[in-house]
Amino acid sequence: MSDLNSVTAAEAPDQMSTQPRPRRGKQDKPRSLAGDAWNDLRKSKIFWVAIVLVVVVLLMAAWPSLFTSADPRDCALSRKFGGPTGGAIFGYDFQGCDVYARTVYGARNSIIVGIVSTAIAGVIGIVVGLSSGFFGGAVDAVLSRFIDIMLAIPFLLAGIVLSSRLSSDPNDDGLIAVILTLGLLTWTTGARVMRSAVISAKNQDYVAAGRMLGAGPGRLMLRHILPNSIAAFIVVLTILLGVNIGVEATLSFLGVGLKGDAISWGIAISEATGTARVAAAPLVWPATFLGLTVLAFIMLGDAIRDAFDPKLR
């Protein structure tokens, strides 16, 4: 069939319309990868659902008072495990605090920890994975062994040590320490995924063709190899975002994460697990918010990844 196509294509230009064609915007507008991706994203329902969720969560993190007028620190033991009342639509937790207010106010710490630590892990992962895959040889040997060493260290142990060293000042709220700890300890999986994707992309003919046309190593890496190897990495990062929000809770629970009377979804979840059979609401609601946030970011990551792959168009 392809034989036939190519012959007719060459001899009869008018029949070219049998070829599959993408949707096209204005002809004179130069198309670029990002431009095409945006055109695709605009039409994707999943993208818009994800965007709405992400925007809501970000608003909640930035201006929690938009969502609730209650004070999350206004707790009274008399209301312990109280059911939903007027303002407190999710009821009260074991300290008698408003679950809805605490969930809304918890968004800020959770989102900051999740996004910033994932961003740090992402940058380290890309740099390490791309350079070890692209340069190979000694660079690869050193970087790969470094990844192995990082993976061999028990995560929780390293997290406790690092986090407590990074915030030794008792007045510090521990936010920066938690972010750095998570960022510095969780980049390894991404780096490995990136490295193997880069190695397979690097041996493709289009990289040789790029070199043939005089491209230097920087251009080859960023223009040719990176866009062709980032898909799996994006998926790893979106998953990491959710995991990091949860791990923050573990560290806080152990006393080396967020300190004092900090509010976060992770802390709320770990506090409520023990009493979940008495009162489920204090566990269910922060967990639902966490789940929806992670889901939104995963959907966003998927939509973006698909939009940047022209073969799926």
Binding site: D205, A209, R211
Partner: protein, 343 residues
């Protein structure tokens, strides 16, 4: 275009009177953990403007590696050029610093690959990839570069170039894709084009179209063309001269007519005899007995001796046969070339 080219003349020592391209005693080896594979063991040939040189040989005889070494895109490690020179207009490219070498690529010497689908970046439109070459090498604006890209696609006879410029590589058919690849290689008006099995991935009718296109473009631009192939049928139509390679060596070099009428090397002769002919219908095909040698373990003396029906004792001893001058501009690496010629 010539004035821009003059500005690009930053390679010191270029002598316009020197031969366009000369490869002398090129040696390439691959150092792997299983031993050293000697892929090219003294390749010699030259190329003049407007001329087509075919490099012919079985799989694994070092054709593509030679091309990559000339182009400077050999994967190193494991590939190493251990000896020899590649002279472009008198300048030994192998001794140039990488920065200058990169300027030679595409501007002076360009290459097209066997499989155009994998040689085009799947995430960019063909127009973007073509335009990028002009934007980077010629400093053109996006608009101008796109116009040039459309012109080029027109030149390689892609129908409706204006619309197709914003298609992705996978939306083109095999033949069209190879045309895009040719456009890409010709973007900067190279003087030498290396075509590494340009039609192997295509079916026969499209093959003929692509070869016709290459010949036409070559004539328009007076470009030197190195055609790497294992297809003797393709060679006969387009080549001026042929270099036959075996186990990394050029075993015979001659004008195309001489090779087809009177081969001087037993390997060339065997290759010609193995071409199926119409009058052989129903008969068994002639094959060359045995396999090409493993490049990690090349036989002593003439590498072809285990498969050669003319082989005698001197063929099995080192040194390997030198390149005997059979006639002016014609060489063969065989002690018994007179016998093979039938004299």
């Amino acid at each position: 275009m010539t004035d821009i080219k003059a500005q690009m003349d930053v390679i010191p020592g270029v002598d316009p009177r020197a031969p366009l391209l000369e490869v002398n005693d090129l040696h390439v080896e691959f150092r792997t953990q299983y031993g050293v594979a000697k892929a090219v063991n003294g390749a010699n040939f030259w190329l003049s403007p407007g001329e087509t040189l075919a490099i012919l040989g079985e799989s694994g005889c070092g054709k593509s590696v030679t091309a990559q070494a000339i182009m400077g895109i050999l994967d190193s490690p494991p590939g190493f050029i251990t000896k020899g020179e590649v002279r472009y207009r008198g300048v030994d490219l192998l001794k140039l610093p990488e920065e200058q070498r990169r300027r030679v690529r595409a501007n002076r010497i360009a290459m097209i690959f066997q499989d155009a689908l994998s040689a085009l970046n799947p995430v960019y439109t063909v127009g973007f990839q073509l335009a990028e070459v002009f934007r980077i090498h010629r400093g053109m604006s996006r608009g101008d570069a796109k116009k040039r890209a459309i012109e080029l696609l027109d030149q390689v006879k892609i129908p409706a170039a204006k619309a197709r410029v914003s298609d992705y590589p996978h939306q083109f058919s095999g033949g069209m894709r190879q045309r895009v690849m040719i456009a890409m290689a010709l973007a900067l008006d190279p003087e030498v084009l290396i075509a590494d099995e340009p039609t192997t991935a295509l079916d026969v009718t499209v093959q003929a179209q692509i070869m016709g296109l290459l010949a036409e473009l070559q004539q328009q631009r007076n470009m030197g063309l190195i055609l790497i192939t294992h297809d003797m049928g393709v060679v006969a139509d387009v080549a001026d001269r042929i270099s036959v390679m075996y186990a990394g060596k050029v075993v015979e070099e001659a004008a195309v007519y001489d090779i087809y009428s009177r081969p001087a090397h037993p390997y060339t002769r065997a290759l010609l005899e193995s071409i199926p002919r119409l009058d052989m219908k129903g008969q068994q095909l002639n094959v060359i007995r045995g396999l090409p040698p493993a490049l990690t373990d090349i036989p002593k003396g003439c590498a072809f001796n285990p498969r050669c029906r003319y082989a005698k004792d001197p063929c099995r001893q080192d040194p390997a046969p030198p390149a005997y001058a059979v006639a002016p501009h014609r060489t063969a690496r065989c002690h018994f070339f007179r016998e093979v010629l039938g004299e």
